[in-house]
């Protein structure tokens, strides 16, 4: 009797354990699908410099010289907090958040602009290309 008690308690606990484990696995599987989903939402864009590319991983991406900026451009011509990229309906928008040197989109100074594929964004001396994401493995 005593051992039966124990066995069933242990079985219940083990079942719960396994269930939690399965759910964690599910969450991990979802990690991949959410990534895909995010790419859909964000039109799968990225910012690129000559030899570098920056992922746009969330709906508000801060560009600046400061260490806490999401995309850090260590260049004195770039303000500490320079520009903010936001996404809505799959459209990315760039916004000046009080920079000293301003934002030039395709050579035009703007405070706020909708970005299109292959736009060139100039922040200070840095030029960034807004383009479709390329899989690093393919390259």
């Amino acid at each position: 009797m005593e051992s039966l008690d124990l066995i069933f308690c242990a079985v219940a606990a083990a079942a719960l354990d396994i269930c939690i484990f399965v759910l964690i696995i599910t969450a991990y599987r979802e990690k991949r699908s959410t990534k895909k989903n995010w790419r859909q939402i964000s039109s799968d864009m990225e910012l690129a410099e000559q030899d570098k590319s920056y992922e746009l991983g969330c709906d508000e991406v801060l560009i600046g010289r400061h260490a806490s900026a999401d995309i850090r451009l260590p260049d004195l011509s770039v303000s500490r907090y320079h520009a903010m990229l936001t996404v809505a309906n799959g459209v990315w928008t760039i916004k000046d958040i009080g920079s000293k040197s301003g934002i030039f989109i395709n050579g035009e100074l703007t405070r706020e602009a909708v970005l299109h594929e292959n736009d060139i964004i100039k922040l200070g001396n840095r030029r960034l290309l807004f383009r479709k994401r390329r899989d690093s493995r393919v390259r």
Binding site: G57, C58, E60, V61, L62, S68, A69, D70
Partner: protein
């Protein structure tokens, strides 16, 4: 991105802290669970055994035992009723409970037990030897620290319950060896040790004082000797054997005995001086008083009377016995007594095996040897006819209690035999109410201990 990472970091920090807290909690629960169980009304207590496997306490309450079988250990082993709280069972009831966190409470067949070092047969014999008189005896092995006998008269049989608690004699529920009592002349052992420690052996032996039956000290108070004709001029050995109060009063007054050094030595030995906070030894959870006395001015009657062992001085019999171990071992370190040899858990696994422990150094080895010699000489000179068959070092004492209304008789000592290392303290209360002597008890005690082992 970085800002999102920051939120994640914060979440993980919070969760980490919580998990840490849970770990502490689980650790605490598992370790303290037996304590929690003891606070519930669900107990499944096991047995307490003596050194030969004889039952001293039956937690199941189901066994049948002869009448008054537990009488002699009633107030030291005690029970879980809560009536006595300075007993072995009351303070170690967790160890006795058939419970462990992983096994739960085991109703039948749990093997939780306490194996004590007591010798039930000797204990009972000593207890019975008291007859109708009151008192107490404690004895232990001064090499290992095993408590062999701890009897306190009157006592009770815990199996009979407490229904007639009103008719219990005073002191029934107390184990007297643990309580302070007036030591009488047994205090002179401490005074001799102090003198030896301060002056050294040869210097002390060179001192001699005159006793004319009464000594008027410098402040005009008189210290009486029990021999009204006086002992004449004596040295320390003679005065110790005569237990001569005037000698010791003069010794205290001597310029070679500065009071601050006397006080220091007394404190080292465990005395609480001049009304300080009491200090207790804890022996397997049982609280045992140490000693206290008054030392204020060495020319005052009170201080001298304290060093002779009367007046304010209180020493527990256990403490007196433990000092004997420091002398008998010639190390100056007391052997700390213990009751519990080992404990078994629910499944019968042995745990908490006792180890011999020693106190800090109370006095030097040379002092211990000299004091041992004085005690042994006293034993050989005065007790070889009353305690037969053992080479004992002893000191007797007579204590006036209740403001001189009663006299208690004490005897402390040790057997100087490497194969039979026993230190003991015997107290007979109100000795004039009967014909019992401490030597008779000592004879019974030693004979039983010798024969039962």
């Amino acid at each position: 991105m970085k800002s999102i990472k920051r939120t994640q970091r914060l979440i993980s920090l919070i969760i980490m802290l919580f998990i840490l807290g849970m770990a502490v909690l689980v650790f605490k629960l598992v370790h303290e669970s037996s304590f929690y169980m003891m606070n519930s009304d669900k107990h499944e207590l096991g047995f307490v055994y003596d050194r030969s496997g004889d039952v001293l306490f039956d937690g199941t309450g189901e066994g049948s035992y002869p009448d008054n079988y537990f009488l002699d250990v009633g107030n030291i082993i005690g029970d879980d009723s809560g009536q006595m709280n300075n007993t072995l069972v009351a303070n170690n009831v967790e160890k006795l409970n058939n419970y462990s966190f992983s096994n739960g409470l085991i109703k039948d067949g749990g093997k939780a037990a306490i194996y004590t070092t007591l010798d039930h047969a000797s204990n009972r014999a000593v207890y019975n030897a008291f007859g109708y008189q009151d008192g107490c005896v404690c004895a232990y092995n001064y090499k290992t620290g095993e408590m062999l006998v701890c009897a306190s008269v009157p006592s009770l049989d815990v199996t009979k319950g407490y229904d007639n608690i009103g008719s219990f004699l005073p002191g029934t529920l107390l184990s007297k060896p643990m309580l302070g009592t007036v030591p009488g002349s047994t205090q002179k052992v401490s005074t001799v040790i102090t003198a030896l420690e301060i002056m050294g052996s040869s210097n002390l032996y060179a001192k001699s004082y005159n006793c004319s039956g009464k000594y008027i000290n410098r402040t005009g108070d008189s210290i009486d000797c029990h021999n009204i004709y006086g002992h004449g001029t004596q040295n320390i050995q003679e005065a110790f054997e005569n237990s001569c109060n005037p000698f010791f009063a003069q010794l205290i007054e001597d310029d070679d005995m500065p009071l601050d050094r006397v006080m220091k030595q007394y404190e080292k030995m465990g005395y609480v001086l001049n009304g300080g906070e009491s200090v207790f030894y804890e022996i397997d959870g049982i609280q045992c008083e140490t000693a206290s006395t008054t030392l204020e001015d060495k020319y005052q009657f009170k201080t001298q009377w304290g060093c002779i062992g009367q007046g304010d001085t209180l020493v527990s019999p256990m403490q007196l016995m433990m000092w004997e171990s420091a002398i008998a071992n010639e190390t100056g370190r007391m052997t700390m007594p213990y009751f519990i040899d080992h404990v078994t858990d629910v499944k019968g696994h042995i745990k908490d095996k006792a180890k011999t422990r020693y106190s800090d150094k109370l006095f030097s080895e040379s002092t211990a040897s000299a004091a041992k010699q004085i005690l042994l000489t006293n034993g050989a000179d005065k007790y070889s006819y009353s305690i037969v068959g053992y080479n004992v070092g002893v000191k007797s004492g007579t204590a006036q209690v209740d403001e001189g209304a009663h006299e208690n008789s004490l005897l402390v000592g040790f057997v100087d035999d490497p194969s039979f290392p026993i230190a003991f303290c015997i107290l007979i209360e109100n000795k004039d109410s009967g014909y019992l002597t401490t030597e008779q008890i000592a004879q019974v005690l030693l004979d039983n201990l010798k024969n039962n082992n």
